[in-house]
Point group: C2
């Protein structure tokens, strides 16, 4: 290396800075003077910039947590936001090591829906009835000291005591426990606390500690969604939820939907990367929930995990490729109990993980767990329909004796993705909205902050209100004359004004565009037509459904009336509808509480018959007919028809 080259190298090194992006924990080295947007692109992070980096759209907003930076002034950002460290990534030059947060992917705050109130309200409507009998149990006992006359081995004396006092037979003891047994049974004069993992076949001692009081034992219920991951930290001695946390699935930077994740995994070491990302996501949430509840991570011995088939494959580091290749065969549907140390979850190393079983490649454990939250399996007469309208919509119809399921590709619109003003049902989301006679919006915001956007239930309301008030027609197109006063046009974008920038959190107008409306209609059309097809396959009419259960990320308060008005839900008696929220998480929680639910969910998976819609010739017709508000056949929606007579 000659001198000039060396100097150049030194110069280059001198001017490289490290930018760390939260919540992804991704760091990248980038030359001084580059913008944060360029750094984010280099790190392959999903930071959008629809204006192409001109500083006008405001999409690429970031919050700078630490480090110095040079920013160009931008009209797209209010002074208040600037004072809080917000900046546009495209307009911010890197001149220091930085820690930058992408607020779009910040930790989510989900409301616990599985509190005692929920159970009181829904007790009669849950198949997985609340009954505290988790497979992990803590037992306190005092082992008599050995004598020359009674000098059985430590293990034998422990087994004998468990048999005598607790009638526990068929015991086994894990190897790591054996290593500490001798000291544990002597340290406090034989007073010990043990943790047992119990299955039908045998009970396994997974922990032993010298203790005068009963050792605490916690479990975690976790829903791994393609977009978001949510968990409850649960005290397994009383079943109470002591902590809750949720965030984006960090895999999101490798692709937003299942198919792109599977494709991403096809290169070497990429499956491992996806596995590591979701484990890291869960571990962050575990740490957060445990810290807020003041629980030690090593006191968590059991995890009940639900998720779609692909998510479970990635979580377990299993090849997902054949899920998307015909004939769509996963490695497994029923997952054996896995050890936490094998997967890398940050809980006790001797802990166990149960994953809810899938039905097939496109109906996963999120659905089987979700069904536990309905009475579908308790009542053999009444017909229930369960629908989880996430990015992939899954539907189940049946009763105790039979179950049929299908999946449809709905798109993530109701989860707030792919919609200009969409967002998940978290702080700042408009969850309910009404238009007054002047077309001005009245709304409720989650946590009563300024509005950041609309979550699913808000979008359903908005679409219905636009339709009912005549701002859009049955195709979803704006009535130019009627809507004229509320239509705004800015930076190549044109749409109905929901809220002015000065009143919104990001300081930007909240609008809904033509394109957004088409997107929402396609999504509701996909769900409704799948529903319709599934009933035809079952030989049922809509009015034969006794109960209609709705799960998914709509938010807390889905307005059923509005969902019917847009043709997302069929026009049935309103009291037939029940909104479940995140039933995948709730189901995982029910499994945690009682091992009976584990057997129950396995039985569900065995029983369900899967129907492939894509090979049904009639499905495309059904779908096309559903791309109207509420539907081509207005007669299917008499209560909506009435509004227009």
């Amino acid at each position: 290396m000659n001198r000039i080259m060396r100097n150049k190298k030194i110069q280059k090194e001198k001017h490289e800075f490290r930018v760390k992006f939260l919540p992804f924990d991704t760091s990248i080295d980038i030359p001084s003077g580059k913008s944060i947007l360029e750094a984010a692109k280099k790190a392959s992070l999903p930071l959008k910039a629809s204006c192409g980096g001109k500083g006008t759209c405001g999409d690429c907003i970031v919050q700078i947590i630490s480090g110095n930076y040079k920013k160009k002034p931008s009209a797209a950002l209010s002074d208040q936001l600037v004072s809080q460290g917000y900046a546009l990534a495209c307009q911010t030059e890197i001149s220091d090591n930085l820690v930058v947060e992408l607020p779009q992917f910040k930790e989510l705050s989900i409301k616990s829906i599985a509190d005692s109130r929920f159970f009181d309200e829904h007790k009669g409507n849950i198949s997985g009835i609340y009954e505290l009998d988790p497979p992990v149990k803590t037992i306190k006992l005092k082992l008599p000291s050995p004598t020359l006359e009674d000098n059985y081995s430590d293990l034998k004396r422990l087994e004998r005591e468990l048999q005598k006092k607790f009638s526990i037979n068929n015991l086994s003891c894990e190897y790591p426990v054996l290593k500490k047994l001798a000291h544990a049974v002597r340290e406090k004069q034989g007073n010990i606390s043990i943790i047992l993992f119990m299955s039908k076949e045998q009970s396994t001692i997974i922990e032993v500690v010298p203790a005068l009081t009963k050792k605490k034992v916690y479990g975690v219920a976790c829903d791994i969604g393609t977009s978001t991951v949510a968990l409850h930290l649960v005290n397994l001695q009383d079943g109470k939820i002591e902590g809750t946390a949720s965030s984006y699935n960090q895999q999101i930077k490798c692709g937003e939907d299942i198919i792109s994740r599977i494709n991403y995994a096809q290169k070497p070491r990429r499956l491992q990367e996806l596995h590591d990302l979701v484990v890291m996501t869960i571990n962050h949430l575990l740490e957060k929930a445990a810290e807020s509840a003041r629980v030690s991570l090593s006191d968590i011995y059991y995890a009940s995990v639900s998720g779609n088939t692909t998510m479970i494959h990635l979580f377990l580091n299993l090849e997902p490729r054949y899920i998307r290749e015909e004939p769509y065969v996963p490695t497994l549907n029923q997952v054996p109990i896995v050890h936490s140390r094998d997967v890398g979850l940050n809980m006790n190393h001797g802990g166990r993980i149960f994953c809810s079983p899938s039905v097939g490649s496109y109906v996963g454990g999120d659905i089987t767990a979700g069904l536990l939250c309905t009475p579908i399996l308790r009542d053999s007469e009444k017909i229930s329909l369960f629908i989880d309208a996430g990015t992939n919509g899954e539907l189940v119809v049946g009763n105790k004796d039979w179950l049929i399921t299908c999946a449809c590709s709905a798109g993530p619109a109701f989860e707030g993705s792919g919609i200009k003003c969409g967002m998940p049902a978290t702080e700042g989301a408009i969850e309910n909205i009404k238009l007054n006679q002047n077309g001005l919006a009245e709304y409720n915001v989650i946590d009563n902050t300024k509005s950041k956007g609309l979550c699913g239930s808000g979008l359903v309301d908005l679409l219905a209100e636009l339709f009912v008030h005549g701002y859009i027609d049955r195709h979803g197109k704006f009535h130019e004359k009627k809507a004229k006063e509320r239509i705004v046009e800015k930076e190549n974008e044109r749409g109905f004004l929901i809220e002015e920038g000065k009143k919104s959190f990001w300081g930007k107008d909240l609008i809904i565009t033509d394109n957004d409306i088409s997107n929402l209609i396609r999504t509701k059309g996909a769900v409704f037509s799948a529903c319709s097809m599934l009933l035809k396959k079952a030989g049922l009419r809509f009015d034969e459904i006794d109960s209609f259960y709705i799960a998914g990320g709509f938010g807390q308060h889905l307005n059923v009336e509005n969902a019917i008005r847009i043709g997302l839900l069929p026009d049935l008696r309103r009291d037939k509808f029940h909104y479940l929220g995140n039933s995948s998480l709730l189901g995982a929680y029910l499994i945690l509480l009682s091992d009976k639910n584990k057997d129950f969910v396995n039985k569900i998976a065995d029983k369900i018959t899967y129907i492939e819609l894509n090979t049904e010739p009639a499905y495309m017709n059904e779908y096309t007919a559903a791309l109207f508000l509420p539907h081509t056949e207005m007669d299917l929606f008499p209560s909506v028809k009435k509004l227009f007579i």
Copy 2:
């Protein structure tokens, strides 16, 4: 640091050399000019030098494998040995990095006693009857390709096929196998080979590979002795032993007997060290056996291990302390199946380890496994007595319906330890010896080399011959007059000349001293008196014993007549005696071959009643009475008495 100090340091560093000692794999840095003996002492290796390092006794002989050294000439070493790199450690100055082997601890070569000939000869006399049914099985099958109509998951299709074609139910699949399942079932059009680990409760898939032929599956039977470790590498498809290896237990450098090992383990990290040493010992042997048999280590899926209670605790990294503290309570007697990856054995990571169960702290799995090699459990009428005369002697008497056991501290004399001319039954050991009328020895040497020393069976012969020919009296003292011509005296040592130095391998006279003879008598006395006490506890006379089984490291050819003459064995009909050799290893091998033997050996451990001799007041009298040749009461040995009339 001032200049002088620094210079000193540099000087010191310059003149330090590294000495690596085999077979211990221990390295030590030592200043130039020091002797190899000093290096060995610094490394705490058990290299003896009875002359105190004067170069006269020849005890500290080593073989220098590589590196330069300065040696003082020594009369104690023949030119031939010098030319082979042998040197006296005390007379050899270190002037280079060296690799030095201690020949006393070199790998042992045991003869396989468990060959087909053995089974043909002993078939009727073995409880653990040869019947090839190992718990680890290899199965070849072709999985039909999935279709849209038959798109069960990979795991389900595999389970279905195993159920349909092989009637295997209650299947589970290990997590690491799930990770490779998708590719394995597709790579060769569904042709796969799987390895199953089968227990009564369930069958676990521990391996799956794409293959057109049946995958090979091997097991290893291993005896972990306090002094030596021996193993057989076994083809589990035909039961054949394909490789055999043995060596000193590398723990020997931490103490020669059980008590000193347990004491050694009491300091921090020392238990781990002992664990690592025995695992390293086994791994070396595994590698050696696998290499010679051209077997891949990853094809070894099952290990059947036997050893005394302390050895099994150290092997499993379990606290041994309470084994030697009253009331003598081990962590466990029955060991659950352990995963090879948890222990660190160099075999397939998904492999399993079974350890033969102990009866208590002083009667271990070597004994329960050894009992499989006797018919003691097949015949409910006939009484058998089993004796394993190792460093610790263990005895069992009984039949199918009852078993009593006791242990005695016999000392390692018959294993060649603590006796000047003693050695294990390996290459160069005199295994049978006779004295002619002039007191000159005629003998057989293992592997027909020059004699290096005497193994147990040789020592029994020698003691009997000395006694019968009148060279020693009933107390074991030399008849000075009779023995005069054969007694030699050299370097403070005086003893009966067995072989002259010019004819022996090490070029040194082989002699047996007064002290050696006392040692042997104490050992045989401990065994006989324990035997006698045990029968008294059982209410039996010696002549009520139908069969007398002898195990231990005597060598291949224990002369029963001579064993009776010295009073080691009772004076019974000669055809009642059966010599088993290393029955612990053979038992481990039987367990490997058939899972029935695993159940069998567990039942044995459950059934045996342990009797503590040390608390029996009569034991000391019995012992004292046995410290004569053959015994105080000559009438107990009529056939011996006859010789002296």
